[in-house]
């Protein structure tokens, strides 16, 4: 009889939802009652919307339980583990029958995420048991020529997953061609897009696949050492990388001819840009440099350097093991393979998904994502973060591949996909991203530093009800100039959110400017706060808390808000205990 296995998902999302306590509870019960099952940990399986997740595998099948707290965990142990009696109402997925959530996994093709949520990331043996390090061992045993490795990667059609989509094989070839006694491979794990967490999940869930990809890149480009530049905001990823590197050294995958070190980023979006990243690794302010020379020629410490994204590296071992042709089977003519997306925002099934390129936005939002919560309507998706743009609902049939997405004015980006509904104001979203880029602009070039600031000022003015008629034209003019004249990718793409929202939602801009109205009711300064007379009890809380004394009324009598004095701070709305403040 096989031993029952209980596996708890301990990724950052799981831990935030309370998985740590669930794991502790199960562990202590197992010990206290001497229960016979194997308890292990894994990372995020992508189903963040159902965290905390606990898997039970016994001889009858595989069961995934969702929304587990300590009490339900006890029930699981008592009923399922001790008495073979699965707790039906908490099953999210199982291999025995279909559930509404089965669709979430069925439409996915997991290549980069092949091990995430399936292995214990802190145990190299579990990675090896699933074919890990086989590709590397074969390359070493057969003494494969670097050119053949590069050819394989080129043939797979893999393009950089960090946002630019540059063909990976070609990049490796450039670095290979520049001869030097010192060469570097850098893994870009700076993941700056605020609303994306693919790379973090990968590093937390399967750090060895990234290491193996880097070592293979090292062999292909004849590099002498590797650096992983990871955000300091990802403590769990850093910890697991550290463990993985130690284990890989113990097994001699790392250390002899090629070793990898980790550099912690210190919080600057621009350091995701490759030249800024290099300058940061060297210990300076992360300011981008003019290219050429490209890093392939002169990068870290002025030596040839190959930089790739986390997800790019995670694909490499799979491609080397299964072959380029197998990888190229997925995706479209020009965008081969799969892409990982972080689904978030106004969507039922937020989480991490990996889909073949060429699938439509509609399939992602409504198929995998389960649609929009509540009775709201789907309005747009934001792809590519601060460098990307909004794609409106009526273009939801757009396939996600590099060319089709670029044609809409957005970019594929690193994979953040934020869904918006009718309550999201598109002018406010543009303002949000410009606020981000204006803060994060490193200040080196004028167009980016001052241009984004000017655009931000105009957007703020529009969302506060002081927009002027000529503002849309000024925004468009500034956008064009910033795109054309900025030094690095940050400035060159910063206007994208504004350009796409003006292109697809010009009417919203006009409503703000001409009628001083926010159609989505999101822009605070354009709202009206009024007392709902049927709910007001005259408790005087709102009047006492109003910072500008705009509310009047006697105790036990209906209160009144003077619209001329009201600054729309919303405090009365927060303070009222009787839902008597209406927002219109």
């Amino acid at each position: 009889m096989g031993q029952t296995r209980v596996i708890v998902g301990l990724g950052s999302c799981g831990l935030a939802a309370g998985a740590g306590k669930v794991y502790e509870k199960i562990r202590s019960l197992k010990e206290a009652e001497d229960l016979d099952f194997k308890l292990s940990k894994t990372s995020c399986s992508g189903m963040c919307y159902r965290e905390p997740l606990v898997e039970v595998v016994d001889e009858t099948g595989w069961y995934l339980y969702g929304g587990i707290n300590e009490d339900i965990a006890v029930e699981l142990l008592n009923s399922h583990v001790a008495n073979n009696n699965p707790v039906k109402e908490h099953i999210v997925c199982t291999d025995l029958y279909d559930t509404p959530d089965s669709r979430f996994f069925r439409q996915q093709v997991k290549i980069a995420l092949r091990n995430c949520g399936r292995i214990d990331p802190e145990n190299i043996m579990e990675y090896e048991a699933r074919g890990g390090y086989e590709a590397l061992k074969r390359i070493i045993d057969e003494n494969t020529d670097p050119r053949s490795i590069i050819r394989e990667v080129t043939d797979s059609g893999l393009r950089g997953r960090g946002g630019g989509g540059f063909p990976t094989g070609l990049k490796w070839k450039y670095t290979f061609n520049h001869k030097s006694t010192e060469k570097y491979v850098i893994c870009n794990a700076d993941e700056g897009d605020p609303g994306a967490f693919m790379d973090r999940s990968l590093l937390e869930g399967d750090p060895h696949s990234v290491l193996e990809g880097m070592i293979i890149a090292g062999l292909a480009t004849e590099a002498t050492s590797g650096v992983i530049y990871c955000r300091a905001e990802y403590p769990l990823a850093l910890k697991r990388l550290d463990i993985a590197i130690r284990q890989a050294r113990e097994r001699n995958y790392l250390g002899k001819d090629f070793d990898i070190s980790v550099k912690e980023g210190a919080g600057a979006f621009v350091c995701g840009e490759e030249t800024a990243l290099i300058s940061s690794v060297e210990g300076y302010r992360g300011m981008p440099a003019k290219r050429p020379p490209f890093p392939a020629e002169s990068g870290l410490w002025k030596k040839p350097t190959n930089i790739n994204n986390v997800e790019t590296f995670a694909n490499i071992p799979w491609i080397m093991r299964q072959g380029a042709a197998e990888y190229a089977r997925y995706g479209t003519e020009k965008s081969r393979g799969t892409k990982v997306f972080a689904l978030a925002g106004k969507i039922r099934h937020g989480g991490l998904v990996e889909v073949p390129m060429g699938i439509t936005i509609k399939d992602i939002v409504f198929g995998l994502g389960g649609g929009i919560p509540g009775d709201k309507t789907f309005k747009a998706v934001q792809l590519g973060g601060p460098s990307g743009g909004c794609i409106p609902a009526w273009l939801a049939d757009t396939p996600v591949d590099y060319e089709s997405v670029n044609a809409t004015g957005a970019i594929m980006g690193s994979g953040g996909l934020v869904v918006m509904d009718e309550t999201t104001c598109m002018v406010d979203i543009a303002r949000f991203f410009l606020d981000f880029t204006a803060r994060e602009s490193c200040g080196k070039c004028t167009f980016c530093r001052i241009g984004t600031m000017r655009m931000l000022e105009i957007l703020v003015r529009i969302t506060e009800g002081s927009g002027r008629e000529e503002d849309i034209a000024i925004l468009e003019d500034l956008a064009g100039q910033i795109k054309e004249s900025s030094l690095c990718g940050l400035g060159q793409t910063a206007p994208n959110p504004v350009i796409t929202t003006i292109r697809y939602f010009r009417d919203e801009y006009e409503a703000h400017i001409n009628q001083k109205r926010c159609p989505a009711k999101a822009c605070k300064k354009l709202l009206r706060y009024e007392v709902d007379e049927s709910n007001c009890t005259g408790c005087t809380v709102c009047a006492r808390n109003c910072p500008v004394s705009a509310i009047s009324g006697e105790r036990k009598e209906i209160h009144y808000i003077d619209q001329d004095i009201c600054t729309r701070c919303g405090i009365c709305y927060l303070k009222c205990r009787f839902d008597a403040i209406m927002v219109t």
């Binding site: 999302c13 963040c48 700056g192 994306a196 300091a232 210190a266 925002g345 927060l574």
Partner: protein, 176 residues
């Protein structure tokens, strides 16, 4: 997200109260004579003191041969570094895209109002520092805030205020 770059405020190095720079011995030994050390050295220093006191700059510069103006440049460029002391609890409210569309601003507003500090500030009693950050990586729980290692998801302004009040109550009960 860094507030300082926009509010054009010059950041002053604050002398620590009797900073014991002896605590830096380990850091100096570890990094002495290596290249590319500026950022890790400052990171470890901040781990020791919670921020970067003025005295540590002087000692590090002297013993590791780092240029003082370079150090100041790096410390003000990266959002992670702090030049003044922080509260005992750092409240990090997520303002990533997902949290923004789920009204993260409402949470910051409510906390600013309750704590009587602006975003980035520390309460007078030194108990809380309020900060905005970009994406804590639990977007499916948006809007999210993090206090210490504890993450609070699917919040409203009212609930966020309740969390703060509970911490206050708990601390008051602690024996001094």
């Amino acid at each position: 997200m860094r507030v300082e770059r926009i509010i054009n405020k010059r950041q002053e190095l604050v002398p620590g109260q009797n900073t014991d720079t002896g605590l830096l011995d380990g850091v100096i030994r570890k990094y002495s004579g290596k290249r590319g050390i500026m950022i890790p050295v400052l990171q470890e220093t901040q781990k020791i003191y919670g921020y970067l006191p003025r005295e540590t700059f002087l000692r590090l510069s002297e013993e590791l041969g780092l240029n003082l103006s370079d150090m100041y440049g790096v410390a003000t460029f990266y959002a992670q570094f702090r030049l003044s002391p922080v509260g005992r609890h750092i409240i990090r409210v997520c303002h990533g895209t997902a949290c923004h569309v789920q009204n993260a601003q409402g949470i910051t507003d409510a906390l600013e109002e309750t704590l009587k500090v602006a975003d980035g500030g520390t309460t007078d009693d030194g108990m809380f520092t309020l900060e905005s950050v970009a994406c804590l990586g639990c977007c499916s729980l948006a809007p999210v805030m993090m206090i210490g290692d504890e993450t609070y998801g699917k919040l409203t302004g009212k609930e966020a205020v309740k969390v703060i009040k509970n911490i206050r109550i708990k601390e008051k009960k602690l024996p001094i």
